[in-house]
């Protein structure tokens, strides 16, 4: 028993002195290390807390080939293919007008999935995604004069939180689950990984980063870690993707992501450490950092696929901190190899934007591409042109991916093991996925409004998303 600072007695867990000493002795003997733990609580706290299924292997290099010499910082999120800057004002506003015209027509004609209630749920889900900005260094809020803006250790006059990198990583993971992230990966910023940041991020020899207000963001030139958080997205809504419900699942996840981002930054500041990111998408490549941190593998559709959550998470939300953290490695679960023979996303893409080539290729010829990645570069103009022109807010590629399953049946785990260890069966598995009818829900009764409300999981997130 220990006495803590507030005088309360803290009971450390025990398994009996004899067994405990025996176990620690065995551990020290096996590893050749001296016992570095005080007790079991100390041993548990030193575990970073991330357990991968046995068929997911941590590797030194990601499964997607990266030429780090050819890779340069992409300018900013505003130059990706999903942003108006790529198209020019005239074309962009024409697409806006077209979308509105289709939207009105489909609403009037009550096209399934485009009735006024479908639009309503999509638009309502988007609330908070746009029109609410979190500062670069995290949120600030004031309630009333009795409450502080931040509850930082400095403001309390107490020392900041201290722990080793493993303990810190565990702390972040616990907080991430509470705030709403399915999984967390961690990447240290090095000369290589700094190339995954937007070009608008600058480093200066300052103690604290800041926002100069000129479109760039400044980070301090010291040891920094990127926390990559997988933000879950509703598969229940996503499976009705050919209608406006897709916009619902999309917008809902983004809205939660924004709240999550603010909370993670506030958490780090409250521990006494720096936090940068604030708003979504201001730091760098979500897929790039997600892949390097082992949240998932790069895939044919250009997005990241998680071995546990498939492609149905909205983004890898990035938060940068100076809290020392135990890094996570890239993973290999055979998923990119599976993409080579599957092609379901490419086959179902209504705009033909996704490559059908067997092997990934060095590309990056369009202005919204980045060189240095041997991947399946998508034709972004076709993708976004279709998605934005018609009021479908298409997300078919993401939803039909065979790695998205509700995970109520054990056989999905067996299939994932086969994908890792028996890739010769990949093509057969992809064909069976079609044959078994996986993909979009197509029946009228499966649409959102006909469901028994009590069968819809809270926030649309069933257990397989976490």
């Amino acid at each position: 028993m220990d006495k803590t600072n507030n005088g309360k007695t803290h009971h450390h867990s025990t398994v009996g002195k004899k067994k405990y000493m025996s176990n620690l002795g065995k551990a020290a003997g096996v590893t050749g290390l001296e016992n570095k733990y005080k007790d079991l609580d100390d041993m548990i706290a030193s575990d970073p807390g991330r357990k991968l299924p046995f068929w997911v292997k941590e590797v030194d290099k990601p499964t997607v080939e990266i030429d780090w010499d050819a890779l340069n910082n992409f300018p900013s999120m505003y130059q990706t293919c999903f942003n108006p800057e790529v198209y020019g004002e005239e074309e962009y506003f024409q697409m806006c007008d077209d979308q509105k015209a289709y939207n009105v027509e489909w609403m009037k004609n009550k096209v399934p999935g485009h009735a006024i209630q479908d639009n309503a749920i999509a638009h309502a889900s988007n609330w908070l995604w746009k029109g609410f900005e979190i500062p670069w260094t995290g949120p600030k809020w004031e309630t009333d004069p009795l409450h502080q803006v931040y509850y930082t250790p400095e403001e309390f006059g107490v020392p900041r939180y201290e722990g080793n990198p493993e303990q810190n990583a565990r702390l972040i993971r616990v907080a991430a689950r509470v705030f709403g992230s399915s999984d967390v990966g961690i990447v240290k910023l090095t000369e290589k990984t700094k190339k995954l940041l937007w070009g608008s991020i600058r480093f200066e020899n300052v103690e604290e980063g800041y926002d100069p207000g000129d479109g760039t963001k400044v980070l301090p030139d010291k040891d920094l870690w990127v926390i990559c958080s997988a933000m879950p997205q509703s598969l229940v809504l996503g499976k009705a993707t050919s209608d406006s419900n897709w916009a619902g699942t999309n917008g809902l996840a983004y809205s939660f992501t924004k709240i999550y981002s603010g909370r993670m930054s506030a958490f780090l500041r409250s521990l006494g450490y720096q936090a940068y990111g604030g708003d979504m998408d201001v730091l760098g490549s979500a897929v790039g950092f997600g892949v390097m941190s082992g949240l998932g593998e790069y895939s044919r559709m250009g997005q990241m696929i998680s071995p546990r959550f498939g492609s149905m998470f909205r983004t890898s939300l990035l938060t940068i901190t100076d809290l020392p953290l135990a890094e996570t490695k890239p993973i290999d679960a055979g998923m990119l190899k599976f993409c080579k023979s599957c092609k379901k996303c490419a086959r179902t893409c209504p705009s033909g934007a996704i490559s059908h080539k067997d092997e990934p290729f060095w590309g990056g010829d369009d202005p919204w591409h980045n060189k240095g990645i041997k991947g399946y570069y998508i034709r972004g103009r076709l993708c976004f042109g279709h998605m934005f022109k018609y009021p479908t807010n298409c997300g078919i590629c993401q939803t039909v991916c065979p790695f998205n399953k509700m995970d109520k049946a054990f056989i999905h785990k067996l299939i994932k093991m086969s994908i890792k260890y028996l890739p010769a069966f990949n093509k057969l598995i992809a064909e069976m996925d079609d044959l078994f009818g996986y993909g979009l829900e197509k029946t009228e009764s499966s649409l959102l409004w006909n469901r028994n409300p009590e069968t819809i999981p809270l926030y649309g997130l069933d257990q397989s998303r976490s």
Binding site: M406, K408, G437
Partner: protein
């Protein structure tokens, strides 16, 4: 609850078999045990996949799995039964 009842039924069945073997009423060769264990695993997988797919709202997957996993399960079950010798 379902798997609890399934476990009870399997346990009761196994106990009945052991009693019969003890009483000398049936004999099972070594390969009978091997095929029997595979059959048991397949039956469990078929049940899990069939009902699991319905819970996933994938009825087509449920029926297809019954077809694709059910047929080999029936074959294995038949072989298992054929290996059991009634004395």
């Amino acid at each position: 609850m379902f798997w609890f009842i399934y476990g009870l039924l399997v346990g009761a069945g196994a106990m009945r078999l052991f009693i019969w073997i003890n009483q000398g009423l049936v004999t099972v060769p070594w390969y009978g045990w091997a095929v029997g264990i595979i059959t048991f695993l397949l039956v469990t997988l078929v049940i899990d996949t069939f009902f699991g797919s319905f819970r996933e709202r994938e009825p087509k997957a449920a029926w297809m799995s019954l077809l694709f996993l059910g047929i080999p399960t029936l074959v294995f079950a038949t072989i298992t039964i054929m290996t059991v010798r009634w004395v």
